[in-house]
């Protein structure tokens, strides 16, 4: 971790980090600071992601919700340097605080945006793995699942021989509820749910600290979706990885994420614990989005959703990008872009002028925080070097 151009730095927060904090915010594993991404250059550039700050706590599930084109996938892809051209990262830093200590060195912190190819190679997949929406496109169609596992393990775990690689691959498949004989199958011979499970097994192969789940179940049926998400969350509890869960389905995140961040037109607009965000949203957009999902119980009543449609990123309205669709917009919303700032006396952050003291927020956006917060049990098995499966 030294040499010219290398930017391994040790942040003060991670040198004396506690072992594991259930609060999550104390021990970040991935910190995104002021990340901005453009598509294209110069005057034609589209600001797909603008000055986003996001912290993923160790062992936590952070949901990133937003509509198509809101920049949620771009944000994640840029953070792990997988952005394709014409995407350009124009600013910010992404700090990865690794838990592993190699040969007794202090916990290294790596700025992924400044890291060189070699450093990235050491982190990608082994520490930060990704599960994409379409497993059919992510898997190699002309080789078997077993061959793809073999290649992966041979590259990253050269100490394993062929037989132990095969055993390990079988173990991984069983971890996600498949049988080891599926190693001989080609991707097209499996159903969509099985392909996605194989993809998750592959992402877990090197025991990563961070999993990026980019719409992992969107193409699947509801029953398969719930099976896979339950398995994923069970694995999270056992293996202790942190997950950034990207989806457009806010109602799903309320059930599966610890914290939820809401994106709109390339900006993070609200961030709060899942239950607080669902029961008592502070942002008009979140409020509207929550009223887009018809309830499964009780009386039916007409819901209005959100008027208008998401803005064109090439032609954003001035001020808050949501103000043309916001029924509570005040003059300030049309002029100045609100920043994501912590809300006094709560663990949430919101980017909305209604909560800046100058205006009175409507009562719908001032509901009290839920007192009985449902929390998922987080029991982390410490994994250091050797995997505790």
């Amino acid at each position: 971790m030294s040499g010219p151009g290398v930017s391994a730095l040790t942040s003060p927060g991670s040198s004396d980090a506690p072992e594991f904090a259930p609060g999550g915010d104390v021990d970040p594993v991935l910190e995104i600071k002021g990340l901005s991404v453009d598509y294209g250059f110069g005057d034609n550039a589209v600001h797909a992601v603008a000055e986003c700050d996001l912290t993923l706590g160790r062992g936590r599930v952070l949901g990133l919700a937003g509509e198509s084109g809101s920049g949620k996938s771009t944000l994640a892809m840029a953070a792990i340097r997988l952005l394709r051209s014409p995407g350009v990262i124009t600013g910010g830093e992404v700090l990865f605080h690794s838990k592993r200590t190699s040969a007794g060195e202090p916990t290294p912190t790596l700025d992924l945006l400044a890291a060189g190819e070699e450093e990235l190679r050491a982190v990608r997949w082994s520490e930060i793995a990704i599960v994409l929406q379409s497993a059919l496109n992510a898997l190699n169609p002309v080789s078997t699942i077993g061959a793809q596992f073999d290649e992966l393990l041979a590259t990253h775990r050269p100490e394993l021989n062929r037989a132990s690689r095969r055993d390990r691959a079988g173990e991984l498949l069983e971890l996600v509820g498949m049988t080891a004989d599926r190693l001989r199958s080609y991707p097209h011979e499996m159903s969509g749910g099985m392909r996605q499970r194989a993809m998750i097994a592959m992402a877990l192969a090197l025991d990563p600290q961070v999993m990026i789940l980019d719409e992992p179940t969107t193409a699947l049926d509801v029953v398969t979706q719930r099976e896979i998400l339950e398995e994923l969350m069970g694995l999270r509890d056992r293996l202790g990885f942190a997950a950034l869960f990207i989806t457009h389905d806010l109602s799903l995140l309320v059930e599966f994420a610890d914290d939820i961040a809401v994106m709109y037109a390339g900006r993070l607009m609200e961030r709060a614990p899942a239950a607080s965000l669902f029961r008592a949203p502070r942002l008009p957009y979140t409020y509207g989005l929550l009223h887009c999902f018809p309830p499964m119980h009780g009386e039916r009543y007409r819901m209005e959703g959100i008027p208008g449609s998401p803005p064109d990123l090439r032609d954003l309205p001035p001020g808050c990008a949501f103000h043309p669709r916001c029924k509570w917009a005040i003059p300030q919303c049309r002029q100045d872009v609100p920043k994501l700032e912590p809300l006094a006396g709560s663990p949430r952050e919101v980017a909305c002028w209604l909560h800046r003291g100058t205006a009175t927020a409507p009562p719908e956006l001032m509901l009290p925080d839920p007192t009985a917060v449902r929390t998922r049990s987080v029991s982390v098995i410490e994994t250091s070097g050797e995997r505790a499966v």
Partner: protein, 346 residues
């Protein structure tokens, strides 16, 4: 108004290649009967591959059934898709990006059916304006001259609905009309369909995989599994007290933030292959309440409550075939209404 009776459709698919090549029959839809009433929305809910889209296409006469009839106002419709049938039954497709021709403006898409079916009363321009107004694309003049790529997904789907309305149909068959749209604009399109039902007394078939939206929009929900109807009921009755184990499974799997406890899935596994469906009830390999008879004989459709029918042996009294209804627990218990709704000021 429009009725499908005993609709059955199978496709021949090729399996293997070379010497092993053979054709097998894929049972896409098996003996399905649905009724659409004027001024009512009927939702068809099912997973992918359950045959719900094929049902819509059979009703639209786009696909010819192997067996069964399509009836319009009680009369059997001839096999050919005649212009007079098309003038009464129109379809809206899932993907508004694919169902509109990218090289033509909105005006062209609406003018064609108006001209072909002579429904413009001589003034095509006025008719186009009125159509766009009906689907809430205001001001109409602004939208008529746009190309599909200049519109958002929701606006495109509204144009597709306007095009279907141009021939003054009495029945609208909507195949997953909102699944390709952004979450925040889905309700707008669903509300438009609800308005067409209420104001213009259209009979609407709403095909979807999203049971929550079916509950929101539809008057009646029918649930399909592996090409067969398993349950049909008024929408609130179906979601509040599902009778068929598969409906219970669907409801336990659907995202529901109001849930206080993490749900337990009522069953696991995947739908069966339609090339060789299991004997008896097609759901029996996954069913938690499976009995011996389920493996041997297909269940009859029995009435479990008013207008509530389920095809399940659990509801058949083995002695005389009367309705039993005991032994099935609802998959979901009613939870308190959303706090946000309760606390909303008057």
């Amino acid at each position: 108004m429009l009725e499908g009776r005993g609709l059955t459709k199978s496709y021949w698919v090729k399996r293997n290649t070379g010497l092993l090549a053979r054709r097998s029959r894929l049972h896409a839809v098996d003996d399905v009967s649905v009724q659409l009433r004027a001024g009512a929305v009927t939702a068809v809910v099912g997973e992918s591959g359950s045959g719900k889209t094929t049902v819509a296409r059979l009703l639209a006469r786009i696909v010819k059934p192997d067996a069964g009839d399509v009836l319009l106002d009680g009369k059997v419709v001839a096999a050919a898709r005649t212009r007079s049938f098309a003038a009464q039954v129109q379809m809206v497709f899932q993907d508004p990006f694919a169902s509109l021709n990218p090289v033509h403006k909105v005006r062209h898409h609406l003018a064609r059916p108006l001209e072909i079916h002579h429904t413009a009363d001589g003034d095509v321009e006025a008719a186009i304006r009125q159509l766009l107004h009906r689907v809430a694309l205001d001001p109409p003049a602004k939208y008529a001259d746009k190309f599909p790529h200049e519109l958002s997904g929701g606006q495109r789907q509204r144009v597709a609905i306007a095009r279907a309305l141009a021939v003054r149909p009495r029945v609208l068959l909507a195949d997953e009309p909102v699944s390709m749209l952004d979450v925040s604009i889905r309700l707008g399109v669903l509300n438009l369909l609800a308005d067409l039902r209420d104001r213009e007394r259209l009979a609407i078939l709403y095909v979807t995989h999203d049971i929550a939206s079916a509950r929101y929009l539809a008057d009646t929900i029918v649930v399909m599994y592996a090409g067969q109807l398993v349950e049909s009921a008024p929408s609130v009755a179906l979601t509040d007290s599902p009778a068929h184990p598969y409906t219970q499974l669907l409801l336990s799997a659907a995202p529901d933030p109001d849930r206080l406890e993490p749900p337990t899935l009522a069953a696991r596994g995947a739908p069966p292959s339609l090339l060789a469906p299991p004997p008896g009830c097609r759901f029996h390999p996954r069913c938690p309440h499976v009995m011996e008879i389920c493996k041997r004989m297909a269940p009859p459709t029995v009435t479990v409550a008013t207008a509530h029918a389920a095809a399940c042996w659990l509801h058949v009294d083995s002695a005389n075939g009367v309705v039993d209804g005991v032994g099935v627990t609802p998959a979901t218990s009613p939870s308190p209404q959303r706090e946000a709704e309760v606390q909303r000021p008057p």
